[in-house]
Point group: C2
Chain length 410, copies 2
């Protein structure tokens, strides 16, 4: 009899974004023909940079000819892409890596979901609260939590509440933890950790032999020159941190699919006998066993992001989204909302003033302002009372949405 | 302290193909400049069909314009591809599916590795022996086996030896099993299960409430009109079978990356309380949590395979590889080798006559005939004494290789 993985039963009834889509579909079924602005999903809207599309078309042409055809590539990714990442994302900021410490993937969401496989099912996991749901749900499925309690917290999971008083930045826990997910610039709060805060985390991880899973998917949106872009800008991170990155938001790859994970060879996990093992070797094995490499066409497109023209074109896109964030932030502040983020991150985090709950605020924004955002509670219990707006939209739609928000709530 | 997943310690020291690459690199370091023919990796060599590349270039062009840009797609895949699969792979053979029973992925290897997550860590797994290593290693990592014993079998794993007497086809086990991997046409033996054999498996699964994970990655290579292409051609499979397919070999997508998995909504797993749960709903949840959809460009390329021109061009490729298989089979038989497969599958399975072991035969083929194949032992203990040759090669290289094999072994 096929015994299922009963950890699935512990999951909340629906993943956040399908529930958002369900409510929107329900609303538009009842009131069809309305022009709704989606500031909810964090999906890019600007087309790909022409340098990127030219590279992908050239790659497709290579696959047309027997002389230049490519079959299976190196499972960790092609060196042309790994070297570009190494030089321009890391060496340029004083971080030394070797190409084989970089694993190219078909997207950072998969990496975020799969990295937990390296750890014992008995390992204790800490997450910021609010948080990107993938970190939580992938650990629930793997059996590293108990059931979901009435207070919306999973048993055994360590929650690090991110409060207004600490700028929505999580602080190292006092209790023992095996690994922790950190995301900076943060989804959903838009908070960015500074050098001192990152240093505190690295020192804590070194001291407790814990691992930091550092999600830097939004690093391209950092404008402030004093803020680190990589955890490896902090001394000592090479022994305790894994970093995930994505081309989804920085180069418009949400439909193209490419990301990468960095695991320095010095990052150590431990067996129950206390013996250290390189997590790089475990992840390499996991890659060779369950993955067959990222599409050649996609890797060529990603590499084009690192050419001078590609950098220029994609930085214009990033600047456009950050102008959106600035406009959104200013207008919402003018309307009297409490607003955070949106300065070095493409997300604006706002208080749901006067609403019973963040889902209630979501429903009101949808019905009264025809705006789709994301209710804070969807990111964890400490997200209650907040609401996330994404800067990934066309300017006109955004400005119209802000006018409607002002009419409804101003 | 970061406790690792100690199940990784149970794995054999190296995944099969990296070990093959290591031995080849060692040989070519010592004897550089030799012209070696690779019949080992099962990687395609013919360039993509022009209908496929045209579709991918058009897709890239769509991503260049704001009006046709695509961000995140439906996580399970676009309907244009799912409907094409449904009609041409299934309805055309009398199998009724709904589009949402098809999950598009970036490759069948990931699906083969990930599907085990749906089952309890206490579930008992059966595999054919010899077998594609991914089925075994992904379950070892997940903790469904004990240690690797001296006889090269993992504790708790149920091995179904595939012997010459039964045409290398596995038979249902007498002991209780929760799920079983079947692969037909088979990698590595080239054996294909007939309607009666498939029916026996479906009846067994229905009777014992077990699940069949049916890997049909090579179905395009079936020439015999009496052989089923899908497990769903067998009555009753809709309640007990999951099917995996790939564009890698049938359309040359090893570097492009696309596959799919079919989970009918009637397929039931069971909780420890005996209550049934739809595996479709669990896999949907897993997809929404850990995946973000397959590249739009790649899905457009895969859909082009189903156009009249695409079908014609890719069937010419399949026929080319099957001619290779036929040539290989005939010549090796003429040389006095015992040979199986290669008739409805792109793999030829041969006995390693006169060699101490299949790795020894591998080394001899490399040193004496400059041919890379795959040692049977790499696919499991019952693979000892056998050797796999792949039909995925250019004709000239294959013919030269056969001449060298004849000189060395004939």
């Amino acid at each position: 009899m096929a015994l299922i993985n009963e950890n699935f039963y512990k999951l909340r009834s629906s993943y956040l974004f399908p529930e958002v889509r369900r409510r929107v579909a329900h609303f538009t079924d009842q009131r069809p023909g309305l022009n709704i602005t989606n500031l909810g999903m964090g999906d890019v809207v600007l087309p790909l940079a022409s340098t990127v599309t030219a590279a992908m078309k050239a790659a497709v042409e290579e696959l047309e000819s027997p002389d230049t055809f490519k079959g299976y590539g190196p499972v960790q990714g092609y060196d042309f892409l790994r070297n570009a990442i190494l030089e321009q994302d890391y060496a340029s900021r004083g971080v030394q890596l070797s190409p084989d410490e970089i694993f190219i993937s078909e997207g950072s969401k998969s990496d975020c979901g799969n990295l937990q496989e390296l750890f014992s099912v008995d390992a204790r996991v800490a997450i910021a609260d609010p948080v990107y749901p993938v970190y939580v749900d992938s650990n629930v499925m793997a059996g590293r939590t108990g059931v979901l309690r009435a207070d919306r917290r999973y048993e055994r999971l360590v929650y690090l509440p991110c409060r207004e008083e600490t700028g929505f930045v999580p602080e190292p826990p006092s209790e023992t933890v095996d690994f922790v997910y950190l995301c900076s610039p943060n989804n959903p709060t838009g908070a960015v950790m500074n050098r001192q805060q990152l240093t505190d985390w690295v020192r804590w991880a070194q001291r407790t032999h814990a691992i930091l899973l550092f999600d830097a998917a939004y690093e391209a949106f950092i404008g402030d020159a004093d803020l680190p872009h990589s955890i490896y800008e902090i001394d000592g991170a090479r022994v305790c941190a894994i970093e995930m990155r994505s081309f989804s938001k920085s180069a418009g790859f949400t439909g193209v699919r490419c990301g990468f994970t960095v695991i320095p060879k010095d990052v150590m996990g431990y067996g129950s006998d206390g013996k250290g093992t390189s997590l790089h070797s475990l992840w390499s094995r996991r890659y060779a066993t369950k993955y067959n490499g990222t599409s050649y066409i996609v890797q060529r497109g990603a590499a084009a992001v690192y050419t001078p023209a590609g950098r220029k074109e994609t930085s214009v896109q990033v600047a456009f989204y950050m102008d959106n964030a600035r406009i959104m932030r200013q207008k919402l502040l003018q309307m009297g909302f409490q607003v955070w983020g949106g300065e070095n991150a493409p997300y604006v985090w706002m208080a749901t003033k006067g609403s019973k709950s963040s889902w209630d605020f979501f429903d009101r924004m949808l019905a009264e302002a025809l705006v789709i955002g994301t209710p804070g509670i969807g990111f964890g219990p400490s997200g209650e009372g907040y609401y996330r707006l994404s800067a990934f939209s066309m300017r006109e739609g955004l400005e119209d949405a802000l006018i409607r928000i002002e009419r409804a709530f101003g």
